[in-house]
């Protein structure tokens, strides 16, 4: 593999929180190639957020090594990393601080020392992708929860990093909000960016991501295509991860019905059922009447 293709390389990452001595990441190794869309799942306390914070340089490995774009996080400033890897935190209210949506989004690029013209351009692009046009003069803390989350995403977008890391972006969002946020992530992925998403929402992981990493007690338990990961219910149970309901249903159907054993979305199971029923109906019509 060409080194240029590697967005993130994690080698034997150890992270211990002091003074309690809590080992949150225990020897994690993984490689994320440029342009991948990766989901990270696991029970509360599995080490997901610790891993993400190590990726963006907010935490530095107590053992092992993390490299972003080939840069070792221990030898690179967080400011330098922030131009390459953007971090959307779980709770927007811990991240918001400016007086208007526009200022919030402009803050990052302004700190990069960019020309005013370039800043305006970036703010405009971020606002367009997140659909915040009507709210650009609003006071961010007063916005609805879904919109506050979008402001944070826009402020990370304006940094124009190549890699995006989302930490439970859909927590507390309603159904519409969840899909709007995942659509933004999908759009970034389609533009060729690398996207990592942590969430407890397995239906969203199944519908949107290509690859899924399952963390369990600080270690990687599974790392494969999303379909292959959700096809292993026993392993998932060990990690206290429940596959989406539609996936469980597909697995529970008798195999002789000729339906796929793995379905990640409603459509992936629905379509074959429709085909099977139609074939049966056609057979019924050709059979002689008794």
């Amino acid at each position: 593999m060409n080194n240029n293709e590697i967005a993130i390389a994690v080698e034997n990452l150890e992270y211990v929180y002091e003074p309690q001595g809590l080992r949150a990441n225990k020897g994690i190794s993984l490689t994320v190639r440029r342009g991948e869309f990766v989901g990270i799942v696991g029970h509360n306390g599995a080490g997901k957020t610790t891993l993400l914070k190590n990726l963006v340089g907010l935490l530095l490995p107590t053992g092992g090594r993390v490299a972003v774009d080939g840069l070792d996080t221990r030898q690179t400033t967080v400011a330098e990393l922030a131009t390459r890897i953007g971090f959307v935190m779980q709770n927007p209210d811990q991240q918001l601080f400016a007086a208007t949506v526009e200022e919030e989004i402009a803050f990052g690029p302004r700190n990069l020392g960019l020309a005013e013209e370039e800043i305006t351009e970036r703010v405009q692009a971020a606002i367009a992708l997140t659909g915040l046009d009507a709210l650009r003069q609003e006071f961010p803390p007063a916005l609805a929860k879904g919109d506050r989350a979008k402001v944070i995403i826009a402020s990370v977008l304006a940094m124009q990093p190549d890699i995006f890391v989302f930490d439970e972006p859909t927590t507390g969002q309603d159904y519409k909000g969840c899909h709007q946020i995942m659509q933004i992530a999908r759009q970034l992925h389609r533009e060729g960016r690398t996207v990592l998403v942590v969430t407890h929402d397995m239906a969203l992981i199944a519908e949107y991501t290509e690859r899924t990493i399952v963390l369990c007690q600080g270690e990687i338990l599974l790392d494969d295509t999303t379909a292959a990961v959700f096809a292993q219910p026993e392993n998932l149970q060990r990690a206290q991860v429940t596959p989406p309901q539609i996936t469980q249903l597909a697995q529970a159907l008798p195999r002789e019905l000729g339906l796929p054993a793995c379905a990640l979305t409603v459509e992936q199971l629905g379509q074959p059922i429709v085909e099977r029923v139609r074939t049966n109906q056609a057979l019924d019509l050709t059979m002689p009447l008794r």
Binding site: A144, T171, Y175, K176, G177, Q240, L269, D284
Partner: protein, 288 residues
């Protein structure tokens, strides 16, 4: 036969927050019987939290604003009784356990409510043991609440409400920050309390699959109005409603709707995986 008085009555309730022109709740009429487990669904901003806070008098008494109509809970008018009095009838569990839990041990946390009522120490201990047992936290008395998992913290918040011996338990998005296991943990404990003690439950949530599994009745709020009510099956089968309001039906119900739209009709509209499994087997094997 005498119909018992409903535990919760809303009589044409409308409410708007201070300095707001928009009504957050509009003309709500509702009766909830003793022992019902009611889910409140709706998009963010539909009025779910506002509705929850009318039940313990925090709205309008603490938040101000303007309220019309009456809310009666367990025989008490929430605009006449004090919030402290209502706290003995209505327990509330919020989204983020960190905003609710504040003492240094599990036992202190559950003792705090009855201590403030001046309940005798022996009785406090008795209630605390019972409440911790009821939520499956017996043995954790000396733990620091910070050492608990998310699901355990929410169960602790439930136990703290239980020591007040409430008639109604209100949960406002109490599982939205939990992982799937923690979510099921909280729903199961609440269902158990509901069955065992006839506790009336009102739960605002976005989690359709658990609503289908655990709840008796669903209320749908939309822009402050109660636009639908029914069993989980009636609500999740109502395609017109689900087109109007983005609420998350269980995936197996979404599948049934998908099939229906393509001319494949499952005999009974499913809301659980088991029901869907039977329906699919039947429709494929059919007359064969």
């Amino acid at each position: 036969m005498n119909q018992p008085e409903p535990t919760i009555i809303l009589d044409d309730v409308s409410y708007r927050y201070p300095r707001s022109k928009r009504y957050a709740l509009r003309h709500l009429n509702l009766a909830v019987s003793r022992g019902e487990f009611v889910a409140v669904l709706g998009e963010n901003g539909a009025g779910k939290s506002t509705f929850c806070q009318t039940l313990n008098g925090v709205i309008p008494q603490t938040r101000g604003g303007r309220m019309r109509g009456r809310v009666i809970v367990s025989g008490w008018d929430t605009q006449q009784a004090t919030v402290a009095e209502l706290a003995q009838r209505v327990g509330i569990v919020l989204e983020d356990p960190e905003t609710q839990i504040f003492t240094t041990s599990v036992l202190n946390e559950v003792a705090f409510g009855p201590e403030n009522l001046g309940v005798p120490p022996q009785e406090i201990l008795h209630r605390a043991r019972w409440a911790l047992e009821a939520v499956g936290l017996n043995g954790y008395e000396d733990y620091a609440p910070t050492a608990l998992s998310g699901g355990q913290k929410q169960r602790l918040a439930i136990a703290a409400a239980l020591t007040m011996h409430p008639a109604v338990l209100v949960l406002d998005e109490a599982t939205s920050q939990l992982d799937p296991m923690g979510t099921v943990e909280v729903f199961s404990v609440v269902r158990e309390l509901n069955k065992q003690y006839g506790l009336t439950i009102v739960m605002a949530t976005n989690k359709g699959e658990q609503v289908a599994q655990f709840c008796d009745r669903v209320l749908v709020l939309h822009e402050g109005e109660l636009i639908a009510r029914g069993t989980p099956r009636e609500i999740f089968a109502d395609t017109e409603l689900l087109e109007r309001v983005m609420i998350r039906a269980p995936q197996v119900s979404q599948l049934a709707t998908y099939l229906e739209e393509r001319g494949v009709h499952l005999t009974d509209f499913p809301i659980t995986p088991d029901e869907a499994r039977r329906g699919i087997i039947h429709s494929i094997r059919g007359s064969h």
